[in-house]
Each structure stands twice: as C-alpha cells, then as structure tokens.
Assembly symmetry: D2
Homo-oligomer: 134 residues x 4
C-alpha cells in the first residue's frame, strides 16, 4: 500500500501567541489524515452500521519545524504493523521539501457493549483489506 | 437570583498569532460558566438520568477588550427572560475593572426521541427553580 | 459582489458528546471562510507587509440545524455594510438544501503602534476594492 | 523536587462524539499543568522581559482510560532529565485512583533573534533552579 496524502492549510485559530501552529493541532492534523484515508477506502471511522469504536491508546510526535498561518502542507499517513486488535499509523507532515513533524498513533478496535462499555476485539479483515487496498 | 461568577485563567493554546485569546474561545468561556452555574445548582447539563438536551439556537457577543495569556478573569452569567421552552443567558466577562466581552446565548430544551431526533419540550420547572434558587 | 463560497468537511475533533459540531466551531468555520475570501482576493488577513490588524468587535449566530461528523457543507460569506473603519460580514452555512446557521461578524481595522497598542484606522480603499471586486 | 499537581475539570467542548475527551486535549491538559508549574515557581513560559521561547520538540502519550464530561482530575508533572538546552517533562493524569494517561514532552530553549528566527540556547540556571526548588 502506498501512503495516503492529505492536503490542508493552516487556519488562524490553530496558531498560538508564538505565531505558529500549536503542537496539539499537529495531532489533530494527523487524525484528519487518518479519517480521510478511511474515506478514500470507502470506510468511516464512525460507521453507525456497526458497533465498533477506535479509541487511541497512544500517540507520539516529533516536531521538526514550525508551521505558520496559511501554510499549505500535506500529511502522509500509512498503516504500519499488522496487529490483531489494533491499527498502527505512521505520519509525516511536510510543507514542500520541509518536514514539519513525524508521528505515530495506535488505535484499538473495540466493540461497544449494551451497558456502554468497550471491549477490545479483532480488527475486521475487510477493514484492513480496504485500508491496504486503496 | 444573583448572577453566578465563574473564575478562569487564559491558557496558552487559547491564544492566537495576534497574541490574544481567539474570539471563539470567548464563547467557550461563556459555556463553561453556564455549566458551572448548573453544577452550583446541583444540576448537570448532561444529566444521563433524563433524556433532555439543550442545543443552542443562538449566541452573540461584543468584544470590548483583548484578553491575554495567563490573564485571570471572571464570567458573570445570569438567566434572563422566562420562557417556556428555552433558557436565555446573559454573560459579562471581566478582568478586574475591565469589561472584556458581553454576550447572550439561548438554548432550547429538547427531548431525545427513540429514533435519535430531538423534539422541543417545556423546560422542567424544577430545573428553572434550582437555577434561579441557587 | 457575489458572495464567496467556502467548502469544508466536519472533522472528528469538532464534534462534542451530543454527537454534533460544537457551536463554537461554527464561528471558526465562518472565520475560515472570511480568510479564504481574502485569499481569493489576493489578500491575507495577516499581511506582514503592513501593520494592520482586524480584531473582531462582534459576532452573532443563529443555529438552525445540527451538523454532523463528516458532513460536507459550504460557508457563504459576503461583505455587508460599507463602513469607514470596520468590515461587516454576513454568513450562511448550508449542507445541501439545509441551512445550518446564519451569522454576522464585524472586525475593525487597527494600526499596531510601536508600543504594542492598537488604534482604530480607516479601512484601506484598495482592500475594500479587492474584496468587493473578486 | 516533588511533582507539581494541577487540578482540572473536563469541559463540554473538550469531548467528542465518542462521548469522551478528545485525545488531543490530553496534550493540552499536560501543557496547562506545565505552565501552572512555572507560575508556582514564580515564572511564566511567556516572559516578555526576556527573549526566550520554549518550542516543543516532542510529545508522547499513552491513553489508559477514558475521561468524561465534568470529570475532575489531576495532572501530575515533574521535570525529568537534566539537559543543557532542553526541558524534559513527565506527566501522569489521574482521576481518583484511575490513571487516565501518562506522557512526556520536551521543549528546547531558544533565543528569538532580531530577524524572527529561533536559535537553541542553554536553559538559564535560575529557571531550572526555580522549577526544581518550588
């Protein structure tokens, strides 16, 4: 599978008083790219036709260069390791030739039970297949 | 009913590149004060023991003075008009003697139906009574 | 001047526990459309080649219908009244045939002085001309 | 140095459609605790009396349990490694006995130069001393 590329522009409210994008937004940009990759695969992370959820269990990022208001950039995302009950994503944010950030996120697949709890379950094969087959 | 006063400090991520709090945050501060007023009245805006919801139907604000990182301020909130199916709030944000903003918000009382829709309903009298009786 | 239309999709982090877009985001969507209109006119709201700023003095919105995760919508924005030292914007958010929200925002034109203060000044004619002439 | 403890309550706009706090907010909570620790040490991360800045170079978090609307929780933060040009923080978020998340963040000390660039510099000893001496 080639990586998925999501295009974005920095909005005003995403900057802070240091004049650059707040670091917490970088994680949101990564998530937006992840969800766009799901849509490109004909899926939705919030599919009301099943009872699956995808809570994050970890996220990490190295911030290499600042990102400024109105900058256009891309988030490259790809599925990393094959795991039974989790999806590992790898991300690279780039503005032209400049790497802004590199990060990883892991979500586990859970089934929502009738009492509102979440129970880890296996990632459905057709979802992995669609995400990889895009 | 005297007005309810909510104390808050500006966080870094709430500022923008202009060096001041982003105007959209002012609306969030007003909402935080509203919810704190509900808690002070022994209520929660998200009470899972009933099927009521409180979607906003309008919000407006005049921004009089900028608010800066680490500023401490208060949001004064009070219930305005008595209406059957809605709650009207009035807000004033102050930092010391300086008025930062004045605003209004209106929420309607809705009952969530089995099919996920929302239907306007009368505001329960005990809720109004508790909010006014604080 | 015809109105400017800005296309957008709802992101996950923009929703709240009620399952819909948080009302404060609607104001951010309106701002994004405003800034996109400036770019379409060859301008930037944050032009480092001058010392102008555009703080908001008011914002108001009526919320007519909820907006959901992954919904695609448009923000229509147009310059309303002609005023000497301020820009008045009118906004309509629509998803297909459904009006989500209608709003207004006013920004004043300020010149940043050497001591960091802001002083109201006249809106440069070429900016109005470009915004109207798009 | 004992760890610093920052108390917080979850606000409505910080939740998402899954009914829990969005993971990007966890990073903001960690930052809020960091800045509160600076204030407790008589410092500000945005001290206008010097030309220092503290951009993040990395952030990571494991999310152990969900956090819900109106939950009260604490963020425990402490300075980890001693390094010449950077500050390493360790964070634990707890709600009562439940660990919500554990994380780390690293900021580098930079001096802002006249042309707007940032140059890594040594962390002033009095800052480390005050942060550790609280």
């Amino acid at each position: 599978m080639s990586e998925f590329r999501h295009h974005r522009r920095v909005e005003f409210a995403e900057t802070d008083l240091a004049g650059i994008v707040h670091f917490s937004m970088i994680f949101r940009y990564m998530e937006e790219a992840e969800h766009a990759m799901w849509r490109a695969a004909g899926l939705s992370i919030n599919d009301r036709s099943n009872d699956l959820g995808w809570p994050r269990v970890s996220a990490a990022c190295e911030f290499r260069n600042p990102l400024f208001f109105e900058d256009e950039f891309e988030v490259w995302v790809r599925l990393a390791a094959e795991r039974t009950r989790a999806l590992d994503y790898e991300f690279t944010l780039v503005r032209g030739e400049t790497v802004i950030a590199v990060g990883t996120m892991t979500s586990v697949c859970v089934r929502k039970t009738a009492d509102g709890r979440m129970k880890a379950t296996e990632v459905p094969l057709d979802i992995v297949s669609k995400l990889r087959g895009r």
